[in-house]
């Protein structure tokens, strides 16, 4: 990759982060307030009646789920909005007419969106420490898992941004699919707490594997084995990259 290509990537990356800086206050304050509210409701009100889950204090148990939930939403929102807005305003012409490859475009947009998502994840992690002591059994794996999740969901968001033809379509998948799947995917409870057949049914929810994997990096154990979580994340990455590759190759909803 030449210096020219790197400059183009850096330009898009800086531009996207600049957009984030414009809304810095809400971008940072909203996750802090939301996390605090979750701790008040789930950690305080409900957690006081449910002291431990799988031997982990309930308030600490929900931290990985809260981080994942926020990162799923942020990643999808940031990446989809990043590519949808140029389509909506018409400034996409500049990107399409620039000497930039599909791979460079994806690295720049997804990289910027993932950076924002990771910042939000880190803020929630730090905010959680104000309420509860959260041990991290595998810190390197935790960071690595956060990066993988941010990139995977940003790629997914990027696909949504290209596919969407209205603001409603942009929001329909995150709100009607990802959010319920996250709530039902063990963000606030262990799958082991469910009775059959719900426990088995829940295992068909892919979010279970992501939250479980992330929880493993904190506590050294999860609802499913870490290898299943990694396989799922790798699979999601591969599928998203394949779909985006096809979108750029065919010009799907990008080029006439």
């Amino acid at each position: 990759m030449s210096l020219r290509n790197l400059r183009a990537i850096a330009s898009i990356y800086r531009f996207e982060l600049h957009r984030f800086r414009r809304t810095l206050l809400t971008g940072l304050l909203v996750p802090v307030i939301t996390t605090s509210l979750y701790f008040v409701v789930f950690g305080g009100a409900i957690g006081s009646r449910m002291t431990e889950v799988d031997g982990i204090p309930y308030a600490a148990f929900i931290v990985p789920g809260l981080i994942m939930m926020a990162m799923f939403t942020e990643s999808i929102f940031n990446a989809s909005f990043g590519i949808y807005m140029p389509k909506f305003t018409g400034t996409i012409y500049e990107l399409l007419s620039a000497p930039v490859s599909a791979a460079e475009t994806i690295v720049a947009y997804v990289g910027a969106a993932a950076t924002k998502s990771l910042i939000v994840g880190a803020i929630i992690f730090l905010t959680a420490h104000l309420f509860v002591d959260v041990p991290v059994a595998h810190p390197v794996a935790m960071v690595g898992f956060m990066v993988l999740i941010a990139v995977s969901f940003c790629l997914f968001g990027f696909i949504l941004g290209i596919w969407a033809q209205s603001f409603e379509q942009l929001q329909v998948i995150p709100l009607l699919l990802i959010m319920p799947m996250t709530f039902l995917g063990g963000a606030f409870y262990s799958v082991h707490m469910l009775a059959e057949p719900w426990r088995t049914i829940t295992l068909f929810n892919p979010i279970v594997y992501l939250i479980s994997g992330f929880r493993w990096t904190f506590f050294g154990r999860g609802d499913v084995g870490i290898e299943f979580s990694l396989i799922f994340v790798a699979g999601m990455l591969a599928v998203c990259i394949a779909i985006i590759g096809w979108m750029f190759r065919t010009g799907y909803r990008l080029k006439k």
Partner: protein, 310 residues
């Protein structure tokens, strides 16, 4: 002059079956101003979009500065600056930031001095820290030109550059385009305003229904297809055109005070002297004679109408 753009058999067919371009062949010379004229839906924007990478061709090939737009898209696009028809800008960005971004997007190293020069040339320097949404339509158009020029392109596409711009700004834009040409940039502009092409272009192409009907030097075109109108200002008004003037097909104007006669400047006999003799024979006195060269607009309308008639 060497060619900078080579278009061969360019066809664009949509899934609906509609053909926006039908095998267009065109060569653009380096350093010229080429005006592409055509009515709405003629295929002007489609052609530009394909060359710039925004749309895909169904059939045909295009090279820009020797680079194929598909196989060597980086080389081709590096040479191109595009100012699209729509005012598409990042409304919340500052002028200087959006221009700097465009330069980086095209892989050029940061060059604040060059960006300053462009902004000064386009009278945008005083507005460099203004958000784009605070600017007038004309200023936004200038910002788009600044963005297109930020990476020092060899070819600049201006798609309807003065659409929706007032007369004064339009004149300013023409001046600016003239100045750009002085720097060696090849300019291809599409326009509805025939006077725009007449004012600036070296060569003119007329496109209609996806077909390039003609490409000609502007002056040659106007000479070749141009007709002149003779206006005979009468000393005394007449009620009707005398039957003896039928062979000249003159028309009566200005409430009977003028006779208009259209003649072909390339014809062996223009009919002017015989008409004046006939007026003398009929005792119709005149006090003045005016001639007017037909405009590019007359030529364009005539070409498009011929096409419709066929």
């Amino acid at each position: 002059m060497a060619s900078i753009i080579e278009i061969k058999g360019l066809t664009k067919r949509y899934a609906s079956g509609f053909e926006a371009l039908k095998g267009v062949d065109l060569t653009i010379e380096e350093g010229e101003i080429f005006a592409l004229l055509g009515p709405n839906g003629a295929g002007k924007t489609t052609m530009i979009s394909i060359i710039c990478g925004i749309a895909r061709a169904t059939v045909g090939s295009v090279t820009v500065a020797g680079h194929d737009i598909v196989r060597d898209y980086r080389g081709a696009r590096t040479a191109i600056g595009l100012v699209p028809q729509e005012l598409s800008t990042d409304q919340f960005e500052q002028v200087i930031d959006t221009v700097t971004f465009s330069r980086g997007l095209f892989g050029k190293p940061r060059n604040d001095a060059y960006v300053e020069k462009i902004l000064r040339d386009l009278s945008l320097w005083d507005k460099r820290n203004a958000k784009i949404l605070e600017l007038s339509g004309g200023m936004k158009r200038r910002v788009m030109i600044a963005k297109a020029l930020s990476h020092e392109p060899r070819v600049l596409f201006l798609d309807e550059p003065t659409a929706g711009v007032d007369v004064e700004l339009r004149r300013d834009m023409w001046k600016l385009i003239g100045e750009l040409r002085q720097t060696g940039v090849t300019i291809i502009l599409t326009t509805h305003y025939i006077e725009e092409a007449e004012e600036m272009a070296d060569r003119v192409g007329v496109i209609n229904k996806g077909e390039l009907m003609l490409v000609e030097e502007k002056t040659t075109l106007m000479k070749k297809l141009g007709k002149k109108a003779l206006t005979v200002v009468l000393a005394d008004p007449i009620d009707a055109v005398p039957a003896e003037l039928a062979e000249w097909a003159v028309t009566l104007g200005a409430d009977g005070h003028e006779i208009d006669y259209i003649f072909d400047t390339q014809a062996e006999r223009t009919g002017v002297s015989s008409l004046l003799r006939k007026l003398g024979d009929l005792g119709i006195a005149y006090k003045d004679l005016n001639t007017r060269q037909s405009s590019l607009e007359d030529i364009f309308v005539s070409l498009v109408h011929q096409e419709k008639a066929v």
